[in-house]
Symmetry: C2
Subunit: 198 residues, 2 copies
Amino acid sequence: MKLYDLELSGNCYKVRLFAALVGIELELEPVDIPGGAHKRPPLIDLNPWGELPVLVDGDVVLRDSQAILVYLARRYGGNQWWPDGAAQQGEVMQWLSTAANEIHNGPNTARLVEKFGYPLNKARALEVSAQLLPLIEQHLSRHDWLALGRPTIAECAVFPYLAVGWEGGVTLNDYPAIQAWIERTKALPGFVGMPGVR
Amino acid sequence: MKLYDLELSGNCYKVRLFAALVGIELELEPVDIPGGAHKRPPLIDLNPWGELPVLVDGDVVLRDSQAILVYLARRYGGNQWWPDGAAQQGEVMQWLSTAANEIHNGPNTARLVEKFGYPLNKARALEVSAQLLPLIEQHLSRHDWLALGRPTIAECAVFPYLAVGWEGGVTLNDYPAIQAWIERTKALPGFVGMPGVR
């Protein structure tokens, strides 16, 4: 299967990370974002939203990193990563929404401004991050993993922008439980990093 | 089961709407948000994030409207609303992320500023909305429903803030396909509205 990819995108990295953890072979197709390739055919036909990642697996074409994680885990990952039960799916899903909302608006946006010069509001992104990190710290001070007491796709959705958040000025210095979770995640068999993951 | 609820919250309405469509009986517990009840026990213990909705169903306690939709649909809604297959879950999930990200940052945020005086950036929220609505319009001009050719929890996640977006200055006047989908959704058996849904 093919992943339309940008090495420096944390959203693309979510998919690469999960694929590495469960042993899915991805054909990576690097996309020339500065050249606007994501806004032109063939990519804009695969994803009218003009964003990465995009996954193509036979007939299946998906945008959005969280949707791709659910798809891959359901199809190839087994029950461990995205379980079958209602309460379990709900528990993991809470963190997929956190990734799509607060992590996007916080650490991801701060990094987009700082590292790539996007014309977004960095002060607001730092504010969102400052509200978010204590909540995650509190959770991880009582739990080894985000959900279900084991690694799930919640880790793949949340880890990337927390791990590279320092590139946007969002450090984990005051959050020892998050730091410990970062190390636990890095120790998972098959783990791969991305530029900026220390 | 109990839903900690605010009548004017579109996020709470997502859950009320789904429950009505599938015939789940909810015990609604109105929360005094102006009085800060969501930031104090017992609610802050149920949801440290201090936000609504919160669902309590026996041992299951969930925050985040999308997570609650997945839980309820998986447990009580049957395959129609949140299917079992990988590609199908991925297709619906794309729209749950859209609800958590662009719809939150667009129509929802514009309404929070305009109707409730939140100190957020309305110009940016209108910009996000102006990017988002043509994409949804394009999709709905070719499809009756957001995913799978039938109503799913994607409708429950996306409908509320599109239907009340006019309260924040995000109208659907230029989007006939979205308007038609609004009417189709309102015609679903069991549909309920909220204040602001015309």
